[in-house]
């Protein structure tokens, strides 16, 4: 297993675990920032068991994934919290 953020462009992998913070999110300006990162990315179709293909990973900055038929741009921080297993 390795973090998604370490895949090289072109590689395919399967998502094994999503470690992003989970919790209640709030939309109130005075409160702390919303925490439910995991729920958000799962809603966008990035879930355990899904195959992903790394389309663009420049080594720094955001990266671009292909999940099913959609291209999803993701910050590097988040991508390091998603564990994947390389596919042949």
């Amino acid at each position: 297993m390795l973090p998604l953020g370490l895949l090289v462009s072109g590689e395919q992998a399967e998502i094994m675990e999503i470690k992003g913070c989970k919790g209640a999110h709030s939309l109130d300006l005075e409160k702390e920032r919303p925490g439910d990162e995991q729920g958000r990315i799962e809603d966008m179709g990035i879930r355990v068991g899904k195959s992903v293909q790394m389309l663009n990973n420049g080594g720094r900055g955001p990266l671009l994934l292909k999940v099913d038929e959609s291209r999803i741009a993701m910050g590097r921080g988040m991508a390091m919290k998603i564990m994947v297993r390389r596919k042949g």
């Binding site: 992003g20 989970k22 209640a24 999110h25 709030s26 939309l27 109130d28 300006l29 409160k31 920032r33 919303p34 439910d36 990162e37 729920g39 958000r40 990315i41 799962e42 809603d43 966008m44 179709g45 879930r47 389309l55 663009n56 420049g58 080594g59 720094r60 900055g61 955001p62 671009l64 099913d68 038929e69 959609s70 291209r71 999803i72 741009a73 993701m74 910050g75 921080g77 988040m78």
Partner: protein, 739 residues
Amino acid sequence: MSTMTEERLQGSSRAALRAEKKAITVGVAGNPNSGKSTIINAIAGTRLHVGNWPGVTVEKKSAIFEYGGRKIRIVDLPGTYSLSPYTQEEIIARDYLIHEKPDVILNVVDATNLERNLYLTVQVMELGIPTVVALNIYDEAEKRGHTINRRVMEDMLGVKVIPTVATKKIGLDDLLKSLLEVAENPSAHCPKHLNYGDDIESAAKMLETQIGLTPLAEKYPPRWLAFKLMEGDSQVSGEIKPDDSGLSVSKAVGHLKTAHDSDIESIMADARYAQAFGLTREVLQKTESGNIELTERIDRIVLNRVLGIPIFLAAMWFVFKLTFDVSKPFADWMSAMTAGPFKGWAEAILGLIRAPGWTVSLVTDGVMAGVGSVLVFVPVIFAMMFFITFLEGSGYMARAAFVMDRAMHTIGLHGKSFIPMLLGFGCNVPAIYATRTLENPKDKALTALLVPLMSCGARLPVYVVFIGAFFSAHAGTVLWSLYVMGIVLAIIVGICFKKTLFKGEAPMFIMELPPYRRPSFKSLMIHTWEKGKHFLIKAGTYILAVSILIWFLLNLPWGVENKKDSYLGKVGQIIAPVLEPIGFGNWEAASSLISGVIAKEIVVGTMGEIYVAKPEDEKKNPSTFSEDLKEVGTSFVHAAEDSAANVFSTVGISSLSSKEDEKRAGLKAVIQKTYTPLSAYAFVAFVLLYMPCVVVAIAMRQEFGTWKWFGIAFVYQMTLAWGVAFLIYHGGKLLGIGG
């Protein structure tokens, strides 16, 4: 289908309307960028904002039309990936579906991405409201070799499924027929209860029965409410306080929790996802096409780590160069016309009706000089709006966010914040509203604070006058430099704010990049017009009013000889010393800048009024009306030719700079006398930065419910504007450029 009205929907008016005319209310829900607004535009004849990136619609908008003898009120909603909202605009969508209970839900599904879209469909079905599914963007799905068995899908969901291609108006008639059919006979088209597994179902049953005994059953869809209570949805629990209502949630979910050893929210999400997955497997057939999509090939270049930002900047440069070159001949034409024939006609008409002398001056020196100076720039503004529309329609918008993500991280924001900023190039007001798509409220506030640094269309007239007077050889580049200055300063200011007001780590960035699409010519035209028209309306309304006001302020006390001694002149003289150190300490500049607070294009309007009455040297021979008319026509044709020629002469000096100067002395000539290239550049930089206009102030107030953020914007922008102008003016002088 005929008339439509757009307004924000209000509960009371909706109820009244339904009682009277029995309009069918259709709520349109779906993933972002699935084509909801496009469908509504196609069936109701509206011109809702459409763009090829997620998060275009941030407000609910409704339209009324007639079909098959029934009135239909269709409500466009912001796109959402699920019914657990993360952003403000998603809350708007969810709240509408839950609280306003439309008669029918039109669930727009992006057929190219079935599984993820069905995840929302599954949740929509929980609401128990009669639903019709539109399989939109079916053309692209077919092109990719996907076929969807709609019959099977209809059986499995228990609702009608209609393939559509909104952009080509295919399938829309079927869709409308189905909507009517469902509205006539709602009970036959209620979505099936999908089975989420025994554990979940029995817990939900228990809660549903309890809910049925309380008044809550009236207010909320019971099955949905049961699920939300089980999940412990913070918003729902906040709204209804389950303990007060005598609902024993913990008892209901007790077994579920022990059996699955996980939190209920994930169990539910998995159950829903399993449904979406199962459905997709049953109905979707793919023939793998193997070849790499065009979108991916373009992205390899455009999103390249090294090339990304240079490509973005080059694209911007190209846009500004084209904006300037294409629109300039028309702008020159309009300016010659308003100063020449149009003015002559107004004078003639007023003379005919024997209007008193001062009204002639009010109309020609006030209204025509003021509004005219602004109208002159309508072509420029429209050209700019055209390019922004193209940017939005092509799909590059979301790429710009990707490319700028790293730069935005330095200010504690992420790439998505760059989209409101780019929209700000059109007009800052919708840009402020576009901040709703940001997950984090602090991001939203910081982004809104930086939006006014993005140079909006209203500032273009000022630039064009000054650039035309001093830098016409490098117009495109100088114009571009101002926009880039805005972005760079936004980053610097952002860093300062991050260190003071908005401490904390950068939030996560996640965003879908749509495929590139070629916007149709017609839709480009429509949306360019929609963006540009408010500048016209503005010119006809409050710029007109301000022009008249300014005329009075320039002519009071009555009969004042020198404009310097008028009320406006006196105020200008008081302010002028403040502007002295930054290169334009004259009362004319000061007065214009004050009036520009209402709207920045008024700066040139006021200058037009101030400088107009300087006696002209040449006395024109009176020309006849028909001569005038001919002149208007032929010069317009020349303008069109020049504009077309400019498109092809991409680089280098435009062909027309030589002949324009002789004719229109006016504003440009006075400016050339009053300013140096250096002070002119300092002046436009000042106009770029000095403060958000009144409408932006109101928008900020509305979005945040307090004047606080506007106050901060006001203070920092004034300081910044003065500081930057000072640096430009004195820095330039030290270096010995353009002094």
